[in-house]
C-alpha cells in the first residue's frame, strides 16, 4: 500500500468569504479517511503554493462561490512555476458552464457544481488523489 491517507488542501482564494461549503466538504473528505489541511478564506495564491509545497498535498480543492474561480488559472501557473504541477486541482462551487472549458484548459481536473453529491465529491477526489499519490511516492531515488 502506498502512502495510506490522501492529503488534501481545502482552501479559498480571492475576496469571497463564504466558507460554509469548504467546511462541509472538508468534513466529507475527513469522513472518507483523508487528511485535510483546512484554511480560512482569503488566501493569496503564493500562500496556497507555499502550503501545498510544505504539506506535500496530493489534491488542492478550491471553493469558489463569487467568481474567484477566474483566478484559478493564475494558481495553476504559480503551481507549475514552483514545480508542483503533479498536484491535482479541483474546483467546487459556482462556475458558469461557459467557463468550464477555460478552467479545464488551465489544468483543473474536476469541477463540482451545486448539484454535486457527497459521493461525487468523495469519489472524484479519491480517484484523483490516489493517482497523484501513487505516482509521486514511486518516483525518484530516495537515498
Amino acid at each position: 500500500m502506498i502512502g495510506q491517507q490522501i492529503r488534501v488542501l481545502v482552501t479559498k482564494i480571492g475576496f469571497d468569504g463564504h466558507d460554509r461549503g469548504s467546511r462541509v466538504v472538508a468534513a466529507y473528505l475527513r469522513d472518507a479517511s483523508m487528511e485535510v489541511i483546512y484554511t480560512p478564506p482569503w488566501q493569496k495564491i503564493e500562500e496556497v503554493v507555499a502550503l501545498a509545497l510544505q504539506e506535500d498535498v496530493d489534491v488542492i480543492g478550491i471553493s469558489s462561490l463569487a467568481s474567484d474561480h477566474l483566478i484559478v488559472p493564475d494558481l495553476m501557473d504559480a503551481l507549475e512555476d514552483a514545480g508542483l504541477e503533479h498536484i491535482g486541482v479541483v474546483v467546487g462551487g459556482i462556475v458558469p458552464d461557459k467557463e468550464h472549458t477555460s478552467l479545464k484548459n488551465a489544468g483543473v481536473a474536476r469541477i463540482f457544481g451545486p448539484g454535486a453529491s457527497r459521493e461525487d465529491i468523495v469519489n472524484g477526489v479519491t480517484e484523483l488523489g490516489t493517482r497523484v499519490r501513487t505516482a509521486k511516492l514511486s518516483e525518484g531515488d530516495f537515498i
Binding site: 487528511e35 485535510v36 489541511i37 507555499a50 514545480g83 537515498i143
Partner: protein, 318 residues
C-alpha cells in the same frame, strides 16, 4: 516534470535545505515501509543539531495561536523556525482535519518558516508514531529551531518529554479548580507553565493555583516559570521568550551526538511498538480464537493467554 526529478537524490537535496525534498521526505517517513526505514536510518546520523521546543496543553487553550505569536517574535529576530503541528485522526474513518495552520496564517508565505501538519493516525501520547523520524528529517535539513505542537492534551499525553529540550505547558483560565492543579499529569512535565487568555477574569486565580502547586512540590519544581500571555494580542511574549531562552541555555552544550542518543530510547520504543503491533494484527484470527476459547473454558488464565499471544506475535516473520 516534477520538482523532485533531478540527478541528486531526495536525501542529498534534503541535506542542503531543499524544502520540496523535506516535504516529500516527511510523506515517505509517514508511510512506514522499507524505504521509509532506509531513509530514516540515513537521516538519523545527520540529526541532533536542532533545538526542540514543545508546546502542549488542553484543546482550545491556544497552543497554535501562541506558537503563531512566538514565531512572529523569533522571525523579527531573524531566526528560522520549523513547526510540526500534530492534530488527532478520526477514530471512525482514520481521516482528519488539520486546522492548526488556521491560527498561523501570517507565516504562510514566509520562507523562513516551515510548517507541517501531521495527523496522529491513532497513536496515543499526544504525538504521531513517526514524530521522531520526522524530527530527524527537519533537523537534518538544517532548521535550527523546531517547535513541536501536540494534539490537545489531557492529563496523560506526556510523550513530548522525550523529544523537547523545553516543554511549554499551556493552561486556559477557569478550566478547573486547585484540585486539578495538584493532580498528576502534564502540569508536572512543564519547564514553562503558561496561563494563556490572561485577559479573562479567572486568569489570576489560575495563576495562583499553579504557583501554589509549584510551592507544594518543593525543590524539583523551583526552576519552573509561570508566564501569563494573551496570545491573540501578542502579549506576554517577552516573558515567554525569556523563560524559554533561560531553559535552552541549560541544554546549549549538548553535542548533536548526545542529543541523538537522548532521543534514541523513545525512537526505538516507537519502532518496537509499531513492529509488535503489526505482527499482532497479522496473526490469523483462528489462532487468536483458539486462545480466547481456552480462556473461556477455564483451561488457561488471562495472564497466560496474553503471554501465549505475545509469543505467537514475536514469532511472526515480517
Amino acid at each position: 516534470m516534477s520538482a523532485l526529478n533531478s540527478t541528486a537524490t531526495l536525501f542529498e537535496r534534503l541535506l542542503i535545505g531543499d524544502v520540496v525534498a523535506l516535504a516529500r521526505a516527511i510523506s515517505i517517513l509517514e508511510t512506514r515501509d522499507d524505504r521509509s526505514d532506509a531513509l530514516a536510518n540515513r537521516l538519523h546520523g545527520h540529526a541532533g543539531k536542532a533545538r526542540v521546543i514543545g508546546f502542549t496543553g488542553p484543546p482550545g487553550s491556544g497552543k497554535s495561536t501562541l506558537i503563531n505569536a512566538y514565531v512572529a517574535r523569533l522571525r523579527a529576530a531573524g531566526e528560522r523556525v520549523a513547526i510540526l503541528a500534530v492534530d488527532p485522526s478520526s477514530p471512525l474513518s482514520g481521516g482528519s482535519i488539520l486546522g492548526d495552520r488556521t491560527r498561523m496564517g501570517e507565516h504562510n508565505a514566509d520562507t523562513g518558516v516551515f510548517i507541517r501538519s501531521i495527523a496522529a493516525r491513532g497513536y496515543p501520547g499526544g504525538l504521531a508514531l513517526s514524530i521522531p523520524v520526522i524530527l530527524d528529517a527537519v533537523d537534518a535539513a538544517g532548521w535550527p529551531t523546531v517547535i513541536l505542537e501536540t494534539v490537545g492534551a489531557g492529563q496523560s499525553e506526556n510523550e513530548i518529554v522525550e523529544f523537547a529540550d523545553v516543554k511549554v505547558v499551556l493552561n486556559a483560565p477557569g478550566l478547573g479548580d486547585d484540585i486539578q492543579a495538584i493532580k498528576a499529569g502534564i502540569l508536572e512535565i512543564a519547564d514553562v507553565l503558561v496561563v494563556n487568555k490572561s485577559d479573562l477574569p479567572l486568569a489570576d486565580q489560575t495563576t495562583y493555583q499553579l504557583q501554589a502547586m509549584l510551592e507544594l512540590r518543593g525543590s524539583r519544581f523551583q526552576s519552573v516559570s509561570i508566564v501569563k500571555t494573551t496570545a491573540i494580542e501578542h502579549k506576554g511574549l517577552e516573558e515567554l521568550d525569556q523563560a524559554i531562552t533561560d531553559k535552552l541555555t541549560t541544554t546549549a552544550n549538548i553535542s548533536p551526538e548526545q542529543r541523538r542518543f537522548q532521543r534514541l530510547p523513545a525512537l526505538l520504543r516507537r519502532r518496537v511498538d509499531a513492529m509488535f503491533r503489526a505482527r499482532l494484527d497479522s496473526l490469523a484470527p483462528d489462532k487468536v480464537n483458539t486462545i480466547c476459547n481456552d480462556v473461556r473454558s477455564g483451561k488457561i488464565s488471562i495472564d497466560s493467554a496474553a503471554a501465549n499471544l505475545a509469543d505467537l506475535a514475536f514469532k511472526v516473520k515480517n
